[in-house]
């Protein structure tokens, strides 16, 4: 099926009837996913937004439950459920792959995080393939096809003037069914997207096992500022902190994004901090991206979107790290984990 780019806007208006539709847009100069409505002009020309779409599933500050004292003086806890029907229209294949990583974290291993699970069920993902890539994109090297997203509900492959519509899940088929007014029959060839940046990932995971005390981390972390920019613009970073807002007797407990780069992230009450210096934190972050997550869930936590390469104040570049690791002559010690 074909969807002509001209009738994107009427399609969005029809979809936005009962639901919140989020589209990539520039709001006050910041490229992020904004609620489609008046005053928001979609920016589908953007290769990718600065702020990742993880904000829809895992908001930066999310109220978990409200507690207050009920009639007979006992504490009462009432959960918030702010999840509602949402559509993210125009998400890119690399961000779709990041949603797979977030699903693994929040929905598996013995505990299902119901805040994330509720939001995830009610989210319809319409992924748009990339016809052109930015200089910092390296998704193909991380196993992501710029024109395909297997776990998206609907895949719109960019074919120049039109999109090729592929409904990939029952939910997607149901949605495409009522797109009849905008879609016509026919087929089109998706535009091949060449990436200027590529890294060689094979062997890196195993090599990292033996590199824990290698000076490579020293040279890398010495120039890092330890700010939280890379973790907050990264689509797959999922660390959070839990705290509460009080108002005399009642209050709200919320969870909010946290960054492994902050100094008090692992600071214990007794004053002991297992990761006191920049070296341990930077090493932990990149090991988590390239090795730890792979060992635990079997997929890399870096999807190659290039946001951290783009936004790092000191241009500390994960692709150069991968190249340096490749160049290291440490014999890969395959750890049987």
């Amino acid at each position: 099926m074909i969807l002509n780019k001209k009738n994107l806007t009427p399609l969005l208006e029809s979809m936005a009837a009962g639901r919140d539709v989020f589209v990539p847009a520039r709001v006050d100069g910041v490229a992020k996913f904004a609620l489609f409505g008046e005053g928001v002009e979609c920016a589908f020309d953007l290769v990718n937004t600065t702020m990742p779409p993880k904000d829809l599933l895992f908001p930066q500050t999310q109220k978990m439950y409200h507690f207050d004292v009920d009639a007979n003086g006992n504490y009462r806890i009432r959960e918030y459920d702010e999840s509602r029907e949402q559509v993210v229209f125009g998400i890119r294949p690399c961000d779709m792959r990041s949603i797979v990583c977030l699903d693994e974290v929040f929905l598996t291993k013995g505990f299902v995080d119901e805040f994330y699970a509720n939001a995830r069920e009610k989210l319809l993902t319409v992924c748009i393939g990339c016809a052109s890539a930015a200089e910092t994109c390296f998704c193909e090297s991380m196993g992501v096809d710029p024109q395909a997203a297997p776990n998206a509900d609907i895949m719109l492959q960019d074919c120049g003037e039109v999109y090729r519509v592929l409904a990939q899940t029952p939910k997607g088929e149901a949605e495409v069914a009522n797109w009849a007014a905008f879609v016509e029959e026919g087929d089109a060839e998706p535009v091949a997207c060449e990436l200027s940046l590529a890294v060689d990932m094979d062997g890196v995971v195993d090599k990292l096992e033996g590199l824990y005390d290698h000076p490579i981390w020293e040279n890398l972390s010495i120039k890092c500022l330890n700010c939280g920019t890379c973790t907050y613009v990264c689509p797959t970073c999922h660390c959070f902190d839990i705290s509460q807002d009080m108002r005399r007797k009642d209050g709200v407990r919320f969870r909010c994004w946290d960054s492994c780069m902050f100094s008090e992230y692992t600071m214990m009450a007794g004053g002991h901090n297992p990761r006191p210096e920049k070296l341990e934190r930077v090493r932990n972050r990149f090991m988590h991206k390239l090795n730890f997550f792979e060992r635990r869930y079997g997929m890399s936590l870096c999807v190659g979107c290039g946001r951290c390469v783009e936004k790092c104040p000191v241009a500390l570049d994960i692709t150069r790290l991968i190249d340096d690791i490749g160049a290291c002559d440490v014999v890969p010690v395959a750890q049987a984990e």
Binding site: K63, H66, D245, M246, R247, R248, D250, G251, V252
Partner: protein, 180 residues
């Protein structure tokens, strides 16, 4: 419940709205002046909550922002007259810091009357009362502070109005018999 007050919501004035004002008073001069005002049975509106600080030099700008975020509509900082400071130079530093901070807050859109600084000595009980009255009137005229404040703001018990509003001595609380 944490109340998200956006700009429009706070614009209309609820009918029995009373301005909430915090006065940071320096322990040696203004606090004594306020005490003297109480001694002389001078009546001033109870909208002002007095907080004692050792010296106006101890006035941290963070207290002002926290007060505004937590729900106050006006902040008053009082200290000793320059030269009277118990710590000799406390109010000189405070004068500079507060001048800069006042301009910064006005630059950020806070109405000038909401953040005021006064030098009030221990003997000027009248000046303390007049300052408090004028601040309360000015802030009442400005209405509620319409900054976005997602921190839950304090809802202190409604201020008793009418003439017994000023005699703030609570009557003896008679414990009724505790039922079984």
């Amino acid at each position: 419940m944490s109340v998200v007050e956006t700009n429009e919501a706070a614009a209309q004035v609820p009918e029995n709205w009373e301005p909430k004002i915090i006065a940071f008073c320096c322990h040696w001069c203004t606090y004594t002046g306020a005490d003297l005002a109480g001694l002389n049975r001078m009546n001033y509106p109870a909208n002002v909550r007095v907080l004692r600080i050792p010296c106006s030099g101890r006035m941290n700008p963070q207290y002002v922002i926290e007060a505004l975020n937590k729900g106050c509509d006006g902040v008053l900082v009082c200290g000793c007259h320059p030269g009277d400071c118990h710590y000799v130079t406390g109010n000189y530093f405070a004068r500079r810091r507060m001048m800069i901070f006042k301009r910064l807050l006005e630059y950020e859109g806070l109405e000038p009357d909401r953040f005021q600084v006064r030098w009030i000595s221990g003997a000027e009980a009248g000046k303390f009362r007049d300052t408090v009255m004028s601040v309360v009137e000015q802030v009442r005229a400005l209405g509620p502070l319409n900054l976005t404040r997602e921190i839950p703001y304090f809802e202190l018990p409604a201020v008793p109005d009418g003439e017994e509003a000023f005699d703030a001595v609570p009557e003896e609380v008679v414990p009724e018999e505790v039922s079984a």
